[in-house]
Symmetry: C2
Subunit: 178 residues, 2 copies
DNA sequence: CGTGTCATGTAAGGAGTTACATGATTTG
DNA sequence: CAAATCATGTAACTCCTTACATGACACG
């Protein structure tokens, strides 16, 4: 799975601009993929050159011009090949979890601070996903439902453990004061 | 968080070889970090040059020689600076979830195949984590306990949703046949 | 009147992976 | 006897991020 595969998949059911693709990455895809404009725009150019996509420039007044990309037959074929290739291992880099792992080197109050910040952030992410879930509810394929449910359940699992952990750490702090 | 930070943290409580560090990445750290020998060995060299680590070569018979690395005061200071820097956003690339998201383009039986494979794999990962949890149980810092609990709960959440999803998809397949 | 949104793009650099090379010993 | 384990290392390459540049309109 690389940016090309994700872009191909994204354009399978409708044509989009680079900007709109990035928005999808930040919302609907946020729990399983991310990449920056510095990846997306050059990749779209390359994919057009490789005839996986076609570009249509749309002049707008009041707003900057758009480049709307549409997947070609060749692009669809390529995406299909990807879907039939072996699944790659998940790749996670979680600074938050790593800090928790090394929490013994910073003291309880700092760990509590980290947990509280994470709690707020994850709540926001979960809310965003829930909203999207309501929005797309009836248009979603069963497979997509499973995907988004895993995403939500993951956030919920994290929140649960953070809440439990906070209780334990706050008790420890209290005991120290006594 | 980059490979240097993770290596520094790993060497905080004991000296290790590159090979042993990699083993930790693959087991204890597997749910929040990974990297290859191609990252680890050159990074260890660089960190020794930068005086963050010292190297001790140990000659073994029957086995290849070892380079055991120990963190220096400078290294500890650097790790402390990292711990006091702002936490970076989590970065996930999950090929599995992305395929589920685009599952409508492959048909139910393929999605079921993906889910079944993932189920087995995640069960193994969860078992591994559980074993480690038992092994380190009494030596773990409260913060580390939270970390590993999040890891386990995450796997459990995924398994739960996969099981539910499989039931739904198998019913759909059955209905189609009728 | 500043901040956010819409919209695209590039250049330089960083961080990492893959594939290869070596080689003895242990395990099934 | 093959495969896995122990153990280190490099070179080529890929992919991606960061930081910058541009510019108009809308909102409060």
């Amino acid at each position: 799975m690389n940016s090309q595969d994700v872009i191909l998949g994204t354009l399978m059911d409708r044509s989009l601009t680079g900007y709109e693709i990035k928005q999808l990455f930040e919302t609907l895809y946020s729990y399983f993929y991310s990449s920056s404009y510095g990846t997306i725009y050059p990749m779209l150019h390359r994919m057009e050159k490789d005839e996986l996509l076609t570009k249509e420039s749309i002049l707008q007044d009041g707003k900057p011009n758009k480049n709307v990309y549409t997947i070609t037959e060749k692009g669809k074929k390529q995406f299909n090949e990807y879907l039939n290739s072996p699944i790659e291992a998940e790749n996670v880099k979680s600074d938050f979890l790593m800090r928790l792992f090394f929490g013994e080197y910073v003291g309880n109050s700092k760990v509590i601070e980290w947990l509280e910040k994470a709690q707020i952030q994850i709540m926001e992410q979960l809310d965003q996903l829930k909203d999207l879930c309501v929005l797309y509810k009836d248009k979603m394929h069963p497979s997509q439902v499973i995907c988004i449910q895993i995403g939500m359940k993951n956030y919920e699992a994290k929140l649960e453990m953070i809440t439990e952990g906070l209780i334990r750490l706050r008790n420890l702090e209290q005991e120290e004061r006594d």
